[in-house]
Amino acid sequence: MATLAPPEQKTPTERVRRKGVTEQQRPLWLLTPGGALMTVVIVLPLILALWISMIDLDQYTLRRWVEAPFIGLDNYVESFSSGLLNSIWISVSFAVISTIATVPIGIAAALVTQNKYRGRGLVRAVFLIPYVLPSFVVASVWRTMLQPDGIVNAWLAKVGIDGGLWLSGPTSYWTLILVEIWAAWPFIYLMSLAALQSVDHEVHEASAVDGAPWWPKLRRVILPYLRGPVLLACLLATLNHINNFTLPFVLFGAPAPEDVNVMPMIVYVTSFQSLRFGLSAAMAVLSLVLIAIPLFIYLRAVRLDVHEEGGRK
């Protein structure tokens, strides 16, 4: 993924380029509505969650949760012995594989709907369907189709393959990936489609005059335009995969087979079935930290500075 990082062209002197705006004219107040919302609905609950992760909150203390005993990092220590690391590994590997697999599909879909033809609107709408169906439905449908005697195995049997069990044991990991890919590729598609719109018409025409064959043209001229948005899409898609709870929950139920005991699953079960809110909050915070650290290193590496593409125009 890192190889896709956008070229770094910006120099500090570029800032000088912006003229006509003095320090006082910066409309920073425009940030306040969003900032206020995020403070109230995300930051405050997050602080509360941090607090919960350090108290012994379970069904016995739930009613008077403010008085629940403070136990420091005990919950965090216990997290490590509760299979959390394994769950994080499953989550991350599942998420990365799913993302890598959806990128070519999503880009291909964007490319084939770039040109106008009769029925394109319909095809575009069709491409959106997996994304529009709620996870809950997607999971129910696949769960039904992947039953031991479901239609997938029936079809496989016709060509002489024994499908086996999709929803239990080691195969369940790949089932989860498969269904996630099916449900999530339109996200990459939509992001690529939006990005393709920013390709100037002249660029197309210039390369058409060159008579360049499609692949070099695609690779050298078009794909660079997609790099930024698709990269962002990859990042967000990976995070979405990691946090996808509904899909594994409905596909496999709780308790889940060990091979798909992903992080949201273990957090949910600890919290809402074992009723250990403190422990589950610690688990979630730990996984948040473990995911956020590489994420921030990565974000630093790609330099999020936003002016370089404006420069390229």
Binding site: G34, I42, V112, P130, V137, T144, M191, E205, W214, I242
Partner: protein
């Protein structure tokens, strides 16, 4: 290459045969499971439960029964209201926020940008209890009922959608040339006027995209909707969940009705998309910048 369709040919990115093959494969990839859903919705509950692909008896029964099995109509109406507001508000707020982040440098800007991505990695299961506690204490201490209202749900969804909307707009706006705004500013236009007259129209494709995503976020959420709503404010996803829940002991699975319900729930979004998709194309070059 014929000269008459040179323009169309120029933007064609893939060879014709490949376009055809890829489209066919992708459409099949989507439609086979969808076909299963459609067929199952036309089957009987028992038929689907016994693993039929082609219904042994066709009927529209599920489509009429589903309205009483779960309060789907209330759910869809609530979802439409909440999600439409979320979509519009998050697209507008996202655009203004992104505009400031893209066009101005200030202390903490990069931190905000990184933070916006970081926010995406917070698991919903972690936030559920704290958000609920916070919302309910608004009721207990401030006397404002948040839980069970549509706007409480709207506030939650808006906030969850905002980081993403902002990011979509950031990536889009930074590709936007600055000349028009600068000309307008020289003419004495204020920031709000520039946003309204220049930025919004120019970035409509991205606004639509971020609006769609915000809409879908709310449309698909079950976790928060199931605790933040009351029966009269249930969303479609919650109604759907109720159809899908099998009860302990005895009930036959209502598979056919689930499929019918999910198609009904998907329909408004697909229609909405069809209505909006012409704003997804065109975009920059049509804006008269060149």
């Amino acid at each position: 290459m014929s000269t008459t369709s040179a323009s169309a040919e120029a933007t064609r990115l893939l060879p014709r045969w490949m376009l055809f093959v890829l489209t066919a494969v992708l459409v099949a990839l989507v439609l086979v499971p969808v076909l299963y859903i459609v067929l199952a919705s036309l089957n009987s509950d028992v038929g689907v439960a016994s693993g039929e692909f082609w219904p042994s008896s066709w009927s529209l029964d599920s489509y009429s029964r589903i309205w009483t099995t779960a309060d789907l109509s209330t759910g869809i109406l609530n979802s439409l209201i909440v999600c439409a507001f979320t979509a519009v508000a998050s697209a507008v707020l996202g655009t203004t926020t992104a505009y400031v982040l893209v066009r101005y440098t200030f202390f903490g800007r990069l931190t905000i940008l990184r933070g916006l991505v970081g926010l995406q990695s917070i698991p919903g299961t972690l936030m559920l209890l704290p958000v609920f506690v916070l919302f309910s204490s608004a009721g207990n201490y401030l006397g404002v009922t948040v839980i069970g209202t549509r706007w409480g749900l709207f506030i939650a969804y808006l906030t969850f959608a905002l980081p993403f909307s902002t990011w979509v707009m950031v990536t889009y706006l930074r590709g936007l040339p600055r000349e028009l705004e600068e000309a307008a500013r020289t003419d004495g236009a204020s920031t709000l006027v520039i946003l309204w007259r220049i930025i919004f129209p120019l970035s409509l494709p991205a606004i639509v995209v971020s609006g769609i995503f915000a809409f879908l976020l709310g449309w698909n959420d079950v976790l928060f909707a199931s605790v933040l709503t009351r029966p009269e404010t249930h969303t479609a996803a919650v109604a759907l969940q109720i159809v899908g829940s099998s009860q302990e002991g005895g009930a036959l699975p209502v598979y056919s009705q689930i499929m019918a319900a999910s198609l009904i729930c998907a329909a408004p979004v697909v229609l909405l998309y069809l209505a909006f998709q012409r704003y997804l194309v065109g975009g920059l070059t049509a804006g008269g910048v060149k």
